[in-house]
């Protein structure tokens, strides 16, 4: 009798177990093990120019935001206006174009609406793995020395920018001076 249902039973138990473990994890507040560590190394094509290579060194040098985005990611669209606002205020923003195609991403980014300085093109999520990308969009704050000082998973909101991101950037820039 048990043999008849053994297979579905195991499947059901595995899924229930996973969901139960998953409940204990707050996916919104993952402390990144990378905070406080140097930006992980990577080598990718530049989004703008396939001939050019972008590495972590290109992201380092001044206090900067690194934003992981994709044209298919709806939350990225919702945070894009705020990135634009930050870029207009003079914050340097670099990007990973994550699991995307150049054509789609270019449409997403039309010339008027590009908040990014350097963009690494990561169609297979290789660098994303190194950087511990959990879900797009994600935003990191790098200090001038290239250390990750902050990570936010999910879209940026005005509140988070006002209360967390901007104060941190000001602090880091003050340290730098």
């Amino acid at each position: 009798m048990l043999r008849r249902i053994a297979f579905p039973l195991v499947g059901v138990l595995v899924i229930l177990g996973l969901l139960y473990v998953g409940l204990g994890i707050d996916s919104r507040a993952l402390p990144s093990p990378l905070v406080g560590k140097p930006a992980p190394a990577f080598q990718l094509e530049s989004f703008y120019d396939p001939e050019e290579i972008v590495t972590e060194a290109d992201f380092i040098g001044e206090v900067a935001l690194v934003n992981v985005w994709a044209s298919w990611c709806s939350s990225c669209r919702s945070e894009k206006p705020y990135l634009m606002e930050l870029a207009r205020q003079g914050v340097t923003i670099h990007g990973f174009n994550y699991r995307d195609t150049r054509a789609d991403a270019r449409r997403y980014l039309s010339a008027e609406m590009n908040p990014y300085d350097k963009i690494a093109f990561d169609p297979n999520g290789e660098a994303g793995m190194e950087w511990g990308v959990y879900a797009t969009p994600e935003t990191y704050v790098l200090d001038a020395g290239g250390t990750i000082r902050y990570k936010h998973i999910g879209p940026l909101t005005p509140r988070i920018i006002r209360e967390e991101v901007l104060p941190l950037i000001e602090k880091l820039e003050a340290e730098n001076r």
Partner: protein
């Protein structure tokens, strides 16, 4: 005071649900007629008390009673009255109350419309519904009571999420919940059949109309959700493979499989175990959906606030459903006989193919939704799965299914002749290929996937037309009236639903290939073009709504200099959250294209960022969805089920399985 009465009514309904989950089942077990009969009155009592409770909560909203915590969080004084009424289901607790109310309504509907069911069967169905209701009511009363009071009463409430202040949002949750909750009825029938050990054609015939109606509501719910996302989120997208969307899509896929599998069980007595499994699976997926949306286990744009306690409760319900059903099945399976045999090429085999494809598609969505969570739970790497995965996996599964949708209705049960089918359909096949090839050219750019999609849509429409014609011609000698009479509601409903699917496929193929999306900078007087239309910005002005300020652009649309429309997209700043502007897109809809304009942010000077879309054939998507649902309602209204119900007692007592029935023609 009113809120306390509502709370009291809720608790009374909970007590009635417990009785309904016990008494009728005990009655069916011991053969006690009086106990069996209690199910009906207990269901009515539940509905009365829940309706009162729901009315009490609605009153608290309309009267702006902010001493009720739920009201304070989801409403405020400035909220327009119609949104105060709909805000009742704008949050977790109230939407759960709506859920149990609809569940009680379905329970009463079963009690009223199933008078002809054998008493034991009805008692078991009512009993299982009582257990389901007990679970959800316990969840409401113990973890999510909407009537909790606040110690300190705020002067004004927070506000209903501005995204939900919209007509689409008024209709979406009730329709979706009607579908979800309807699946509980289907589940109750399946469990009742397992309890009695009699999974037969009669059981299939009883549960089929309920399944169809629940499926229609689910279809409408998913469709309205997509329609809402399309115009309200301001990105012009209509499906994002978001976990919450997937939560409603997975039961829809298995419910679709169940509809078709029930057809085989009813007509040929086959697929019994498979059908009962699908019924259980669909119900389990509705609970999983509630878990995904309400436990905070998965991050999503529009899930409810996280609360692990609720997650544990829903997970326990899911575990009880799945493990209980499996145990019941292990106990009863030896009594389930086999159905009629069928050849490799028959309507059964094609329906089996359709079922397998739908279930595999559901599994693919399931994996894509939960895989990131699974890796996370195991402490492995963290990944995100986006539309690229779903597109890559889902599309290849749907293509053969669409092909089968065309063939299935035309061939015979048990054993059909492939040569005859190919003779009958070769012209249709050729014409479909030609349409598939030619149509993309008419759109300007030829793409293989688009051609395939359009060809398959043409195939479904043409085969439906051929089938309809054949059926009418068979009665050619008997006059027009008789010819039309041959088109029974179940037959028409099936083809209508399939044609609706074809329209949706056309819309998806067209919009994926030919939509034009442009972000442009427009100052007053500037013009931009998209999809052959010129968009001229006339100006941007301030507008005051009932509870928001808005910048409203006036954009004149012309084509070759001739005026087409004036569009007024807005950027709204709700008083309750003025730092998060909401886009209110403005659309001009025509059967073959939508023009969609969304106002972005202010650039330098008086120039604004404006997003222009040209979306071909979007209209077909919504019409297609409506046709699918309407087709389902038509099929469920077929006279056959009413007759079956009148005769069913006899059928059930005398013929345990109608396996040897002659080959019918309709799947309906």
């Amino acid at each position: 005071m009113i809120a306390e009465l509502g709370n009291f009514a809720l608790i009374l309904a909970f007590c009635l649900a417990i009785s309904q989950g016990v008494l009728p089942l005990v009655g069916a077990r011991t053969g006690n007629e009086r106990l069996m009969a209690t199910g009906r009155s207990l269901a009515v009592g539940q509905l009365v008390f829940l309706a009162f409770s729901y009315a009490a909560l609605t009153w608290a909203f309309v009267a702006s009673d902010f001493s009720v915590e739920y009201v304070a969080r989801n409403s405020n004084l400035a909220l327009p009255t119609q949104y105060k009424v709909t805000a009742v289901w704008g949050g977790h607790e109230g939407s759960l109350l709506l859920w149990v109310l609809l569940l009680a309504a379905w329970g009463v509907a079963v009690a009223v419309f199933s008078k002809a069911l054998p008493r034991k069967m009805l008692a078991r169905v009512m009993g299982v519904l009582g257990i389901v209701s007990t679970g959800f009511l316990a969840f409401t009363v113990l973890t999510s009571n909407p009537f909790n009071r606040l110690a300190r009463v705020p002067a004004d409430g927070v506000d209903l999420n501005p995204l939900l202040q919209d007509p689409g949002m008024i209709a979406h949750p009730p329709l979706l919940y009607m579908g979800y909750v309807g699946m509980s009825v289907v589940f109750a029938f399946a469990i009742a059949a397992l309890l009695s050990g009699r999974l037969d054609a009669a059981w299939a015939r009883w549960s089929r109309p309920w399944t169809t109606v629940a499926w229609c509501f689910l279809t409408l719910g998913v469709g309205v959700g997509s329609w809402w996302a399309y115009y309200e989120l301001g990105w012009g997208g209509w499906w994002f493979w978001d976990p919450v969307e997937n939560a409603s899509f997975m039961p829809w896929l298995t419910a679709t499989a169940l509809l078709h599998s029930l057809a085989v069980t009813e007509k040929r007595g086959g697929f019994k175990v498979w059908t009962v499994m699908l019924a259980i699976l669909t119900f389990a997926l509705t609970i999983l959906g509630a878990f995904i949306v309400r436990s905070g286990v998965i991050t999503s744009v529009h899930s409810f606030a996280a609360d692990p306690d609720r997650g544990v409760f829903l997970l326990s319900m899911l575990a009880a459903t799945l493990l209980g059903s499996l145990a019941l099945y292990a106990w009863r399976a030896p009594r389930v006989g086999l159905g009629g045999g069928f050849g490799w090429y028959s309507r059964e085999s094609l329906l089996l193919g359709n079922n397998v494809l739908l279930v595999v598609a559901c599994a693919a969505v399931f994996v894509g939704t939960l895989y990131p969570l699974a890796l996370d739970a195991l402490g492995l790497s963290k990944i995100s799965v986006g539309p690229p995965y779903f597109d890559a996996v889902f599309m290849p599964l749907m293509m053969p299914m669409l092909f089968l949708v065309g063939v299935g209705p035309l061939i015979a049960w048990k054993q059909a002749d492939p040569v005859e089918t190919s003779k009958q359909l070769r012209w249709v096949f050729l014409v479909s290929i030609l349409i598939g090839i030619a149509w993309p050219f008419a759109m300007g750019l030829w793409k293989p996937l688009t051609a395939l999609g359009l060809g398959l849509a043409a195939w479904i429409l043409l085969t439906a037309a051929v089938d309809t014609r054949n059926r009418m011609m068979r009665r050619r000698s008997q006059g027009v009236g008789s010819m039309l009479g041959a088109l029974r509601p179940s037959f028409l409903g099936m083809h209508l639903a399939h044609a609706g699917l074809a329209l949706v496929v056309v819309a998806i193929s067209m919009v994926n290939s030919y939509e034009v999306e442009r972000d442009v900078r427009l100052a007053p007087g500037d013009t931009a073009t998209a999809g052959g239309y010129e968009f001229t910005m006339l100006g941007v002005g301030g507008v005051r709504g009932p509870n928001y300020d808005a910048d409203q652009a006036t954009i004149e649309v012309t084509r070759n200099g001739k005026p087409v429309a004036t569009l007024t997209p807005q950027r709204r700043y709700y008083d309750s959250q003025s730092d998060m502007p909401m886009h209110q897109a403005s659309l001009h809809r025509r059967p073959t294209r939508d023009l969609y304009v969304s106002l972005g942010e202010r650039l330098s000077g008086d120039a604004w960022l404006v997003r222009l879309y040209y979306k071909p054939y979007m209209f077909w998507m919504w019409v297609g969805g409506l046709m699918m649902a309407f087709g389902g309602f038509l099929a469920a209204a077929d006279r056959r089920y009413r007759l079956a119900r009148e005769r069913s007692t006899v059928v059930a007592e005398e013929r345990p399985a109608a396996t040897g029935r002659s080959a019918g023609q309709e799947v309906g």
